[in-house]
């Protein structure tokens, strides 16, 4: 079923047990919403020695948006800005691919499970919500990303 390509097991696992989810405590907190559906995310992080630290997020939304936030936070937490930037670039490209690429597992790890989302244009924004929040937070913390 086409649906199974969207809702892969790894996505539902992240949805049920999201990583790095809690109460954001950082001084700079970003709040992003998807005005079409009302999904919301609040995210904070700090940048120390060129690395993404203390990343924590909270939010409400569909399985895709919540799983994507969990996967994103795994990929960027504790990583260098350059590595995080690389993941962001690859993930954005994957989401815009309309199913034409599979994604580089070396870079994207669990995020390649979200490749199926790119075939459902209405859901791409769900998957990108947390990534855009991360980008915003990184910039506000002084990262050039």
């Amino acid at each position: 079923m086409e649906l199974d390509s969207l809702y892969q097991e790894v996505i539902l696992d992240h949805y049920k047990k999201p990583h790095h989810k809690g109460v954001p405590t950082g001084e700079i907190q970003v709040h992003h919403v998807n005005p079409n559906c009302g999904d919301e995310i609040t995210l904070s992080l700090t940048i120390r020695d060129g690395k993404v630290e203390d990343l924590i997020w909270d939010g409400t939304g569909c399985s895709i948006s919540q799983a994507s936030a969990s996967i994103m936070s795994d990929l960027v937490a504790g990583k260098s800005i350059a590595q995080a930037q690389d993941a962001l670039t690859h993930f954005t490209e994957l989401m815009q691919s309309k199913g034409s690429i599979k994604g580089d597992e070396e870079i994207l790890e669990d995020a390649i499970a979200l490749a199926g989302v790119s075939k459902f244009p209405a859901r791409v924004k769900c998957a990108l919500l947390s990534w855009m929040a991360f980008k915003d937070a990184a910039i506000q913390n002084g990262a050039k990303i």
């Binding site: 079923m1 649906l3 009302g38």
Partner: protein
């Protein structure tokens, strides 16, 4: 119950039902609350206008310009006949949203009894679609007027117990929906209209969810303004209607300025045409007006009482079915009293987006999310709902597939 409509014949008038959805499924369209599908008659009317009569209306002395003006003004007359109002009381806009913005902006610019100024009060309700909230909220912000509202009760009705505090001698305008686009609930507007008029306030009815689905009697309702959109009533996009009492439209300031809406113009001043032209700046959406008139003729031919009773029959089956599914909760009114053919529901532990995505695999088109009524959704303590809305082209088989898809959505995530 036998349908009062020949639904099979009606379905054949709508070419979209020949289209295959994902996985080759037939279309079960339950999102008419967002926009309706279009019968071939409406498409033909638009094509006919462009093919045979297209020219800018109210300009030019040539044959085609006369034809275009006749088609456009003929459309206005047909809309007026549909509403049983005077032809000069029908203003064409691009949408119901524009109709409401027109009113709010015009009241801001008007003087005397119509003008809104600091200290005046504007009343809405928690049921409102953003289109009937934001124009008034922002008008209040700009002018220093006070925005007040009726609160919603859990069954989707309005709490009228404090009506005396909400509607006061300072109230200038009351704008309320005829039917919630989210819950399908029908608020008891008669006491609100009476209270508004008792203090000399104007009453604006948002008819987006009612005009396409049931007979409307403006005289009995005793309202001052009515807005509705064409595209929810089998008509084209880009056309909406504002009806207003003639003496009010005459006293109101314009909304948009430009061609067609003037009487005289100098380099430093201008005077305005009479309503409705005063509110129709620029070359209007002509083919769309003709399409809308044809759509309303279609609805009249089928019969709005028939359409309404059929929608309620479909709603009865869908409600009973949903209420029998473990894990599903209908939000808003639970019965058929004080409701129309719109049902919102949630499934335990599932986000509406995920529910709608699985239902799509069955060919079922439903709306998910906050339905452009975010305050209402927050009031319910939800982040969104899944909404099914019925129309004249839906049949009982659609309801069956709908219910099957709801069970399918629940089980898809339950077993994984």
């Amino acid at each position: 119950m036998n349908s009062p409509l020949d639904v099979a014949a009606i379905k054949r008038d709508f070419p979209i039902f020949n289209e295959e959805m994902r996985g080759g499924k037939r279309l079960v369209f339950l999102d008419s609350g967002a926009t309706s599908q279009k019968p071939i008659q409406v498409m033909d009317a638009e094509r006919d206008f462009y093919s045979k009569h297209n020219a800018a209306v109210h300009r030019g002395s040539y044959y085609l310009a006369e034809q275009a003006s006749e088609a456009f003004e003929g459309a206005r007359a047909r809309v007026a006949a549909f509403l049983a109002v005077d032809v000069d009381e029908v203003v064409f806009t691009k949408s119901a949203t524009e109709s409401l913005n027109l009113l709010a902006t015009s009241f801001e610019r008007s003087s005397g009894a119509l003008g809104i100024k600091a200290g005046d009060e504007i009343v809405v309700s928690e049921l409102e679609h953003h289109a009937n909230l934001l124009p008034w909220q922002q008008l209040a912000k700009r002018t220093g007027a006070v925005l007040k509202w009726f609160e919603m009760l859990p069954d989707g009705s309005l709490d009228l117990s404090t009506i005396d505090q909400i509607i006061t001698p300072r109230t200038k305008v009351v704008a309320i929906t005829h039917q919630s686009n989210v819950l399908g609930s029908v608020p008891d507007i008669a006491p609100i209209i009476a209270a508004a008029h008792a203090v000399g306030a104007l009453f604006v009815l948002d008819g987006c969810q009612s005009v396409p689905h049931q007979p409307i009697d403006i005289a009995t309702l005793d309202i001052d303004f009515l807005v509705f959109s064409g595209h929810k009533a089998l008509g084209p996009t880009g056309i909406g209607v504002l009806w207003g009492r003639a003496e009010l439209l005459d006293a109101m300031e314009p909304f948009l300025y430009g061609g067609s809406m003037i009487e005289t113009v100098t380099m430093t001043s201008a005077t305005w045409a009479k309503a409705p032209k005063k509110f129709e700046a620029g070359v209007p959406n002509m083919a769309q007006a003709v399409g809308l008139a044809t759509a309303l003729d279609y609805l009249s031919n089928v019969g709005l009482p028939n359409i309404h009773s059929w929608e309620m029959e479909l709603t009865k089956h869908a409600l009973a079915g949903l209420q029998g599914i473990d894990g599903v909760t209908v939000v808003g009114p639970q019965g058929l009293e004080n409701r129309g053919g719109v049902i919102s529901f949630v499934i335990d532990g599932l986000h509406p987006h995920d529910v709608g995505q699985v239902m799509d695999q069955y060919g079922v088109a439903v709306r998910t999310g906050h339905h452009c009524a975010w305050p209402l959704i927050r009031k319910l303590g939800l982040t969104g709902t899944t909404r099914a809305s019925f129309y004249l082209y839906n049949d009982l088989a659609d309801v069956d597939i709908f219910l099957e898809s709801v069970v399918g959505a629940r089980d898809y995530f339950r077993k994984r």
